[in-house]
Amino acid sequence: MVEQVLQNLSQFVPETVLLVTFCAVILTDVILKGRPMAALGVGLAGTVAAGILAAGQFGAPQAVFHGMISVDPFAAFFKVLVAVSTVLVFLISLYSSEVRSAVKRMGEYSALIVSATLGMFLMAGASNLLMIVLALELTSLSSYILAGYTKEAPDSSEASLKYILYGAMSSGVMLYGISLVYGLTGATELTGVRIALAAGAGVNYPLLLVASIMIVVGFGYKISAVPFHFWTPDVYEGAPITITAFLSVGSKAAGFAMMIRFFVTTSYGDLGSMLGVLQGFEWPKLVAIISVLSMTLGNLVAIWQDNLKRMLAYSSIAHAGYMLMGVVVFTQNGLSAVLIYLVVYMFMNLGAFYVVMLVAGATGSEDINAYRGLSQRAPLLSVALVIFLISLTGLPPTAGFVGKLYIFSALLDAKWMWLAVIGAINSVISLYYYVRVVRNMYLRDTEVSAPPVVLTRPQTVLLFVMLIPTLLLGLYFAPLVDLAHASVALFGVR
């Protein structure tokens, strides 16, 4: 027993490191009261260590702690992705005026980011219904507080209230769905659910469908897909930009990891998924409809937004739709395309939020009019933002093009022609609102009173940390593609 636990713990090192970091951040904050940034440093160091340790887990798949958690390349891929995004968010936080305005709560800020990261690590590996719920809640509860971190600002308070009301409701619905699945199959492990469904005896299929849809509500909320997206624009606009960036990348990636593992592990035979057990019910169509709704609504509403943060919120809903297209296909190509897209999305989206944050820090506004003539006041930032926005649109030679390319080629391989057409039309629509920002920066004259945006050297370096991968992954992407394929290979889908 003890040996088994110790053996399992050796597979659990990245999470343990994060847990220790969490405690260390709080202790640092208490001991070094006068130096709040020390806590952030500890959190940053711990996350880097956890990410490096997680990178060593691309070995043979293992189930630890009685099948609660899977340690496999798929989980490792997402753990590294989440760790990188957390590290970038920590670095961005160094230059955030919002975060600095409440610098005396820096310890709490860092500790909660670390605990949310721990939740995302667990989400990536969760292979038990109970673990799925607990990991999801750990991430969510930390994010609720983080969204209201600048609690003196009404926007931030409102964001955290809306976030917790929508979030608690969707997790309540999801939990009820999970309780039904437990009742119908008598299993809590995902493999046990599959075995029970494959045996088929005494399973009430209509009820199973209801339960599956309830669980999809929970996943849909986490990845902010339509029609579970209502919290996204308000929370993204109200929360501090660093937290918005964190939620839009880390949280979404972990949600996709959990969703893909859930559907793949509970699927059997040719039925594709748990949802497929109902005779004549084509579950990919359901996911396809969610995907189309997310893309179309996200892109169409983004056109009308004048607040850049809100625009990026709708754009993140649209991107969830693009990624869901890969889940619809449900082949090895489709699933690895989602992984590729998430990596690409991390760099370009964090980069865009970083530029928005720097401009907001200098001009005090996130409005699109604050970007008038920005090219004269901040040439480097303007070029960087153009590249990030082109990448978000999905045009070559940026990384966004590679992400879209793999999603669309997987779609065409699987004969999902109509979905690919809608996806392509949506990419064109998205060009419109991204170009609006570019037009304001380059073709409009700056206002006389507008202050220049001056970058310090470390800020410039951080900008390049996100800019270089966005360009490089557009030209040299073979290693990433290989890694993504290797990470989904263990699922054995065609």
Binding site: L130, E137, L141, P154, S160, V173
Partner: protein
Amino acid sequence: MDDILTWLEHPGLTHFLLLSVLLFSMGLYAILTRKNAIMVLMGIELMLNASGINFIAFGRYSTGTFDGQVITVFVIILAAAEAAIALAIVLNIYQTFNTVNVDEINKLKD
């Protein structure tokens, strides 16, 4: 009438499932109709406890393992943690907006 009484005298899985569906629906109804943030939170608690009842009932009557009971303990802890955080956020909202009516807290809008 006697049938109903006999049915009530011998509680089985169905009774508990009915109770949980009732609780879940009441919770959902409260969330959708109430304007007071505290009442919405109470609706959420009802939904969480409905699934707790489900887990125990299924564990007792249909699977015969203790998994259901164990999960329920975790669900209770989750509900407590969620309530603690939600109430802190609502308190902060009251200090900022001087109201806990979710319809009036609407600064962020298109």
